[in-house]
């Protein structure tokens, strides 16, 4: 053999599945590796409805962004944005209001690299490689992008990702730090897995994810509602995904099997 070529950096381990690529696979995307797909199969065994949940979560993201855009929000901070897939925040927001600006934050190399490629030619969007549970680092990085004006309302999105924040990282403290950084009239849209809806399936998911790079921590309704401290919850409050502002003509979805609670709050 002649020369050896190595172009996968040693901090990208394609044998270690990533939650971002698992989500991409569940949504029917092709941005994933064998290890991710193998994990997804186990995930599906534990929660056969996982594809639907992924779809419902993505659909909630869209409705939440449109709701915020309607309320006049023109800048978005998408925490734990993952692999860019169909219906990314900047696409939704800029379709509603072309001047909208979006900063994506994720810590996973491939997700970040991929986001960079997608956003190459969009000067109103950027991606930041930081850990969302380190708000100081994230907020400093966001300032450097110059895209977000903290004297104006910001839409903080953490959709389908907060269940990866372990208790020892102080979830309430993390949300509070972002809340304190934005002005009143800003919004928080949050969705996360819960064991309240399907305890058995949820326990199965937790077991499957325990030894992955992204262990999961489901939370109960009260605990999720408490994360919105300092925000007025937009009606109907914290509810299973499909029940949050369903659209006209939509197909009936089984809320009991939606696995994830979602809510949107406006900062007081």
């Amino acid at each position: 053999m002649a020369e050896q070529v190595s172009w996968v950096p040693d901090n990208v381990d394609t044998r270690l599945p990533s939650a971002a690529r698992l989500y991409d696979y569940l949504l029917g995307g092709g941005h994933n590796f064998a290890a991710d797909r193998a994990l997804a199969e186990k995930f599906l065994l534990a929660q056969p409805n996982a594809r639907t949940i992924a779809r419902l979560n993505r659909a909630f993201l869209r409705r939440a962004v449109l709701h915020l855009a309607d309320a006049g929000v023109r800048q978005f901070l998408d925490l734990g944005s993952g692999i860019p897939t169909v219906g990314n925040v900047h696409e939704i927001a800029q379709k509603a209001a072309p001047e909208s600006r979006v900063v994506y934050v994720d810590y996973e190399d491939v997700a970040v690299a991929h986001s960079r490629m997608i956003l190459e030619h969009d000067d109103r969007s950027a991606v930041l490689q930081e850990d969302m549970t380190d708000p100081d680092a994230v907020l400093a990085g966001v300032s450097r992008t110059g895209l977000i004006d903290f004297s104006e309302p910001v839409g903080v999105l953490t959709v389908g990702v907060f269940h990866f924040v372990p208790p020892e990282r102080d979830p309430a403290g993390v949300v509070a730090a972002y809340r304190d950084a934005v002005v009143p009239g800003s919004y928080l849209a949050l969705s996360q897995f819960t064991a309240d809806l399907q305890p058995d399936e949820m326990a199965g998911i937790v077991a499957v994810m325990r030894n992955s790079a992204n262990p999961m921590y489901p939370r109960g309704h009260a605990e999720i509602t408490a994360l919105f401290e300092g925000f007025d919850l937009v009606e109907p409050g914290v509810v299973p995904l499909p029940l949050w502002h369903p659209e006209d003509g939509s197909v009936d979805e089984d809320a009991d099997r939606a696995g994830i609670f979602a809510g949107v709050g406006r900062k007081k």
Partner: protein, 683 residues
């Protein structure tokens, strides 16, 4: 597109809405339901316009598959549901009813949509794989820690890729190639190493490829995607999609070319299309049919102690689904899947959901594997144990035990499926082992069914006329139209047509033929015409009949239409009887069994005659004269006393003729009285 009348517009909107509701749950599409509906309405327009275009061509609908994939309607179930909805809707939409050979055109259109969908999906996947690999490169470049990256990690991506990948230095020499490329070219790794990659291409393509590599190497273009031919080791050309991009070193200087290659030769394409029906069932998480077949193939050829295949179907599952709702039905299916998996946890086994309520279990036998009857017992027990809400299910099971190792995997699965069908025909909770001779007959029928649409289009199916006689005086009352396809008679033709979905098209064609023949031959007398179940339910039946009479000039008084009794019982198309009658056409019922519900129909519908079900006639002929005959005799006289005349089909012997004559039925037809004759014989 525009200028359609409001009803046409509304019907197309209804189709778009049904379509939206069917595919909405199959994939995430970033649009509101209303936006999706409008998006699909555009596609309905394309399809409906194409069906009506003269000359007919499927080319315009190719865009439909592309547009679906473009909008990300790419779920594992999306295509199947699309075909389902469109297949049904297009046959019934009034604006298309005048289109000649509608059924064939619909089949062709759906075929084209499916093909373009599969092609687009493939290109989309290729793009995505390209993107994620580029993201990997990109991630690498940024971290600037290239020096000691783990060879193992790199290999994982490189070696497991389904696409051929070659990394070449700037002299064009292959420094690394993966297994997929080796397989495509028929060369092994050793032969590829150091080889100038350009030598793998068809000589006709070499010059263009040199230019491509140069353009990418000089940074004039970032990446090139082309379609080219590779030459296999044995000289066979292989069509490939390829993508060439540049790899730079830490200082940003060009260092290597990366060439990704996808085999798109036909055989490969077919394989890939199958792979695309993703490998798992989204509801139960079990393997789906595709994956099952693949595993069946590999296990079947590698098994030491032979394999056993169980196909099972939940009895009357549609009742559960309709009664308790689909959400409950879905939960039950998931639970059944789980139980089946638990059941074979100790075996080398695979459980799959291979159809709506159909499951399959594949076991690679070991010396400890339970026997087939034991296994069947366990499966039944697992299924019958009560589920959520106290529902208890049962299953019918078809078993193929240790098929000969030479047999084809698809054949094995088909045999199991056919055995299951036979088990189901025996009733609930039945199981059967595979029987080769019975299977043969079943298989012939299936292959005939597949050819039916073509036979209709090709004029192989004919209409013949069988005299209908008054049994008392042997007077000829008229003729009943009968279908014939080679040696297949009327009832077989109808069954096949219903099974293959062409019965509506076939029925309309046959009615037109028969009316035409009757109009040009007075000696044919009264025309008796039996409708298929689907035709009887058709909401445009009356219009079709009236138009047929107008076209052919046959007076309404010479036509007698017989609606399918079962279809009337199901409640669809009840209006058809009344409206036909209002239009001066005499109406009757056919395939009449004499059940209580059927008898009550006689009071509800404006019918004045009926044709008994051939199976009733056959059963009477097979049994010694007893209670059944007595009951039939009373029933006939009861029906006749209410003013409805009774026609007996399929009279087979003189003996039978005598019996029915004594019962005083009004008329009969059958090969014993007079066989069906082709039209030219009558004219």
């Amino acid at each position: 597109m525009n200028g359609q009348s409001p009803p046409v517009r509304t019907r197309r909107q209804e189709i778009a809405r049904t379509w939206m509701r069917a595919v909405y749950p199959t994939a995430y599409v970033p649009m509101s339901p209303t936006e999706i509906e409008l998006y699909l309405l555009d596609l309905v327009d394309v399809i409906a316009d194409a069906i009506q275009a003269e000359p007919f061509s499927v080319d315009p609908v190719e865009v439909v598959g592309d547009r679906l994939v473009e909008a990300h309607f790419t779920g594992p179930e999306t295509l199947r549901r699309t075909v389902d909805v469109l297949g049904r809707a297009l046959l019934f939409i009034p604006e298309l009813q005048d289109v000649p050979q509608l059924a064939e055109k619909v089949v062709a259109i759906l075929g084209s949509v499916s093909t373009s969908f599969a092609t687009s999906m493939r290109l989309d996947a290729f793009d995505q794989q390209e993107a994620v690999k580029r993201a990997l490169l990109e991630a690498n470049r940024r971290t600037e820690r290239v020096l000691k990256a783990s060879e193992a990690q790199f290999s994982e991506v490189f070696d497991t890729s389904a696409f051929g990948i070659a990394i070449t230095n700037l002299r064009g020499e292959c420094v690394r190639a993966n297994g997929a490329l080796a397989e495509m070219t028929g060369l092994d790794h050793a032969a590829l190493a150091g080889l100038r990659l350009i030598e793998l291409f068809d000589p006709a393509d070499v010059e263009a490829m040199v230019a491509t590599y140069r353009a990418v190497g000089e940074g004039r273009v970032e990446r090139v995607r082309e379609q080219r031919r590779l030459l296999r080791d044995d000289g066979e050309p292989v069509w490939v999609h390829l993508a060439v991009s540049l790899l730079r070193d830490e200082d940003g200087a060009p260092a290597y070319h990366v060439t990704m290659v996808e085999d798109i030769s036909e055989l490969h394409l077919l394989q890939k299309n199958l792979d695309f029906q993703l490998l798992h069932d989204s509801l139960t998480g079990l393997s789906n049919r595709q994956r099952f077949i693949t595993r069946l193939e590999s296990l079947h050829s590698a098994s030491r102690h032979g394999i056993t295949l169980y196909c099972l179907d939940l009895d009357a599952f549609s009742v559960v689904n309709n009664g308790l709702g689909h959400a409950v039905g879905d939960r039950l299916l998931t639970e059944v899947g789980r139980r089946l998996e638990a059941l074979v946890a100790d075996e080398q086994a695979l459980v799959a959901r291979i159809g709506g309520d159909e499951f399959a279990i594949l076991i690679d036998n070991s010396p400890d594997t339970p026997t087939v009857p034991e296994m069947v017992e366990r499966i039944s027990a697992a299924v019958e144990q009560p589920m959520v809400g106290g529902v208890a299910l049962s299953a019918s099971i078809g078993v193929v035990d240790r098929p000969p190792s030479g047999s084809d995997a698809a054949d094995v699965l088909r045999a199991a499926g056919a055995t299951l069908q036979r088990a189901k025909a025996k009733g609930k909770r039945q199981w059967l082992p595979y029987d080769r001779h019975v299977d043969q007959a079943f298989r012939e029928r299936q292959s005939r069914a597949a050819r039916m649409p073509g036979a209709v289009a090709g004029g192989e199916v004919e209409v013949e006329y069988q005299p209908v006689l008054d049994l008392a005086g042997r007077q000829q009352l008229g003729h009943i139209a009968r279908l014939r396809w080679d040696e297949l008679g009327h009832d077989d033709c109808l069954d096949l047509a219903e099974a293959t979905g062409v019965s509506l098209a076939l029925g309309q064609w046959a009615l037109h033929e028969a009316a035409g023949d009757a109009a040009s031959s007075d000696s044919l007398g009264l025309l008796y015409f039996e409708l298929s179940p689907m035709q009887s339910r058709d909401e445009d039946l009356v219009r079709t009949v009236k138009r047929t009479l107008d076209d052919t000039g046959l007076p309404a008084s010479r036509l007698r239409i017989f609606l399918d009794t079962r279809a009337m019982l199901d409640g669809d198309g009840e209006d058809n009887a009344q409206v036909l009658r209002d239009n001066g056409i005499e109406v009757g019922l056919t395939r009449f069994n004499g059940g209580q519900a059927e008898l009550s129909l006689l009071g509800e519908l404006p019918v004045d005659s009926l044709v008994l079900d051939p199976s009733v006639v056959r059963r009477l002929a097979e049994q010694p004269e007893a209670f059944l005959h007595d009951a039939m005799s009373r029933m006939v006289s009861l029906i006749r006393s209410s003013g409805v005349s009774v026609v007996v089909p399929d009279l087979s012997t003189a003996d039978r003729e005598a019996w029915w004559a004594q019962v005083e039925v009004d008329a009969a037809f059958g090969d014993h009285l007079a066989p069906p004759r082709p039209a030219y014989d009558l004219l």
